[in-house]
Amino acid sequence: MGKVVGIDLGTTNSLVAYVGEAGPVVIRDASGDALVPSIVSVADDNTFFVGREAQRRLLTAPARTVYSVKRFMGRGLSDVKDEAAHMPFAFAPGDGEALRIQLGSHALTPPEISAFVLRELKHRAEEHFREAGEFDFEVDRAVITVPAYFNDAQRTATRDAGRLAGLEVLRIINEPTAASLAYGLGSKDRGTVAVYDLGGGTFDISILKIEDGVFQVLATNGDTHLGGDDVDQLLVAHIAEALRAIGVAALSPEATQAVRKAAIQAKWDLSDQDSTEIRVEPAPGLPSGFRQAITRSDFEQLIQSLVERTLGPCRQALTDAGLKAADVDEVVLVGGSTRIPLVRRSVETLFGRKPHSDLNPDEVVALGAAVQADILVSGRREMLLLDVTPLSLGLETMGGVVSKIILRNSTIPTTGREMFTTAVDNQTAVDMHILQGERELASDCRSLARFRLRGIPPLPAGLARIEVVFQIDANGILSVSARELKTAVEQTIEVKPSYGLSDDEVEQMLIDSFEHAEADFDARLLIEARNEAESVVNATEKSLRLPEFPQVAAEELQPGEQAAIEAALADLKASLLAIDRAVIQERTLALNHATQHLAEVVMNRTVKAALSGKNVSEV
């Protein structure tokens, strides 16, 4: 058996964590960075890039770089029309409802794109375990988190992404609940906790009761299309307006990304400063060096209504939990967007108490996922998480009305039962349409799937009694079974998911992904070459900046040696802008060679300095 990890598959960034001997830890890269940007890009030669590497390409190859793909998980083409207009990448003209994103010559579904990010995390974790000297470093199982308010199609899409990445998905758990697990760790806490989770693309509120190590969710609510992305979008529109005023009418994809980058930086700045300057990097079609001042109060005015949209779900969750704001003992903030001061103030006002944010809001969800993964494989029973289904489940009945079978905020796992009979003699099949949502008409709810119940024994009309059981498991994912009660014949059920992938499609994608494995491997080698190159560049630049460097150069370097180092450094940096691995490796070697003497000199001086003034017996 391999290793088990917890994964926070985020809209903007993703993270991987595991439970070590000292408790849960987030896995970082060599530079200490835990976040892997949830971005995937493809080059002209079909090389795929993931994470930071792909993020760099947002500015240079926006049409071939996908971000925020989580917003499209489990959704149909018609759902995303408005949003798609803002995205610099293209949606493949689809057959029916299936949604695919055009990435170079590939038309990929959101689970396939997410699988790239998951593979990157899996790889990161494996590297970590390998470097730690673990014999069995393969990561084969994971708990993956989703927004609490994700529906069945979105959860299933996330599980499919895990499978496509070569992971057995032990459990899908809700992000706010995961965060509460990380917070409640090792404490003998009891009480009522509200977790307010505003991430890159989604908003959740969960109200939990914690007692005897049981984390019981009382109610959850949210909006799967509300987050930092929307804040960025408002700022982008604000900047675009200013650009229009100086005659820049339409933005090219490159310009849009440059503006978006400047918007995000300004948003960050305004979390600790009262004012900042939006600085847009040069891009085709933009006046060079465009700058615009913005104050925090301008910014707050801009996002006021967006922040208010989170308060309605909070109130609804309290009502559903049968509580008042004053009954909540603690409020916990999760998600990068809770760094925005206006968000903090609004939450504090609503609940009448200062929210907690002791743990890093970016990392707390992954830590909780790791804890849940550990519970599952170890069988430890100190902590137990009891979550709820966020949306009611129902069947379409006569006149397009939904008859509810499982109500929202039911603790999972849970079952719902419904009796069916036949309308004509010898009828052997019944069709059903299953929906999720709170509205009364089928057309206003989310279509999950259409089922055909087959194999009903031929009987006179109305005599067959078919019991259909809807089972929502601990992942919040639905399965359906049925049997005819008179004859006890199990029925077969054909499922046609309205938006997701069928099992056959997932299988086919798995086969395809093995075929792509070689290309993926090349991409991996390229990334590793770049990382290596970057660390050599950093080390060299650091030596050149040392205060004692001018003295070292004067006393110990050969004439021309410094110039050679600088030339090799410039060459290597230039090669990093391209994607030729051989060139990068060659120039990395060259720079290493050029700096070898310098490194020895610096090392000797350091040792000498350390030893000076000490006598031999001390050495």
Partner: protein, 231 residues
């Protein structure tokens, strides 16, 4: 919808070792493995509680947590498929049972079914199509008249603020009546625990039906108020 005539078994066979276990057991007394869920038995016995309508919510919650810790699928992750399925089914049943038992009205309705009275569900889901319970005629009549007037006033462009206020005033007596019914349901529950009589059950059923009617009426008012607020 009547239940089929079946003789109710009192034992369940353990799928792990083949031994027989009493229905109230969750784990096989022989091999200690989790037992598959029987199709017989009821929510009260599942919690190890007598068939009583008054119960201590804290005690119920404690039992719920304890049983969750015993059954939850988290703890059977590495087990064989039969035990995983048993844990899933037992957890689901536990959650469904807790949801019903922790709510006084739902608990009482459930008991009516166990005691062989016809369920309320079909009648209660379509309040508009159901005759107004006799004891509520007066209030419902007055309310409907007021609602009609409010709708008319709205059509003719009356200011919404005033209409919302009027709606709130019309709401008050219904809420009062609803509170009365809560007390009445509680009193009847206590009475049933004491006398276990059929007559008490019939009265309870009547009271629950009226309560449903009021709940649906209040939901109508909420919708009306929401549409006024959003207009």
């Amino acid at each position: 919808m009547t239940s089929e005539p079946t003789k109710t078994p009192t034992m369940i066979e353990c799928h792990s070792c083949g031994a027989g276990a009493p229905l109230r057991e969750h784990f096989c007394p022989q091999c200690t493995n989790i037992l598959q869920l029987s199709r017989h038995g009821d929510y009260f016995s599942y919690f190890g509680l007598p068939r009583q309508l008054q119960l201590d919510p804290q005690e119920l919650e404690k039992r719920f947590r304890d049983l969750s810790r015993q059954f939850h699928p988290d703890f059977f992750y590495n087990g064989p498929a039969t035990l995983k399925l048993a844990s899933l089914e037992r957890s689901s049943y536990l959650n469904d049972a807790y949801r019903v038992l922790k709510n006084t009205a739902a608990r009482a309705e459930y008991l009516l079914g166990l005691e062989g009275l016809s369920p309320l569900k079909a009648e209660a889901t379509a309040a508009s199509k159901v005759a107004v319970p006799a004891s509520l005629l007066e209030e419902v009549f007055a309310f409907n008249e007021e609602l009609d007037e409010i709708r008319e006033a709205r059509e003719s462009g009356a200011p919404h603020g005033a209409l919302v206020e009027r709606l709130e005033r019309a709401r008050a007596p219904i809420v009062l009546k609803q509170d009365e019914h809560e007390h009445q349901v509680e009193a009847l529950c206590a009475q049933w625990d004491a006398d276990h009589s059929r007559a008490t059950l019939e009265a309870l059923r009547e009271c629950l039906l009226e309560r449903h009617y009021l709940t649906n009426l209040l939901a109508t008012i909420d919708r009306e108020a929401a549409s006024l607020a959003s207009a």
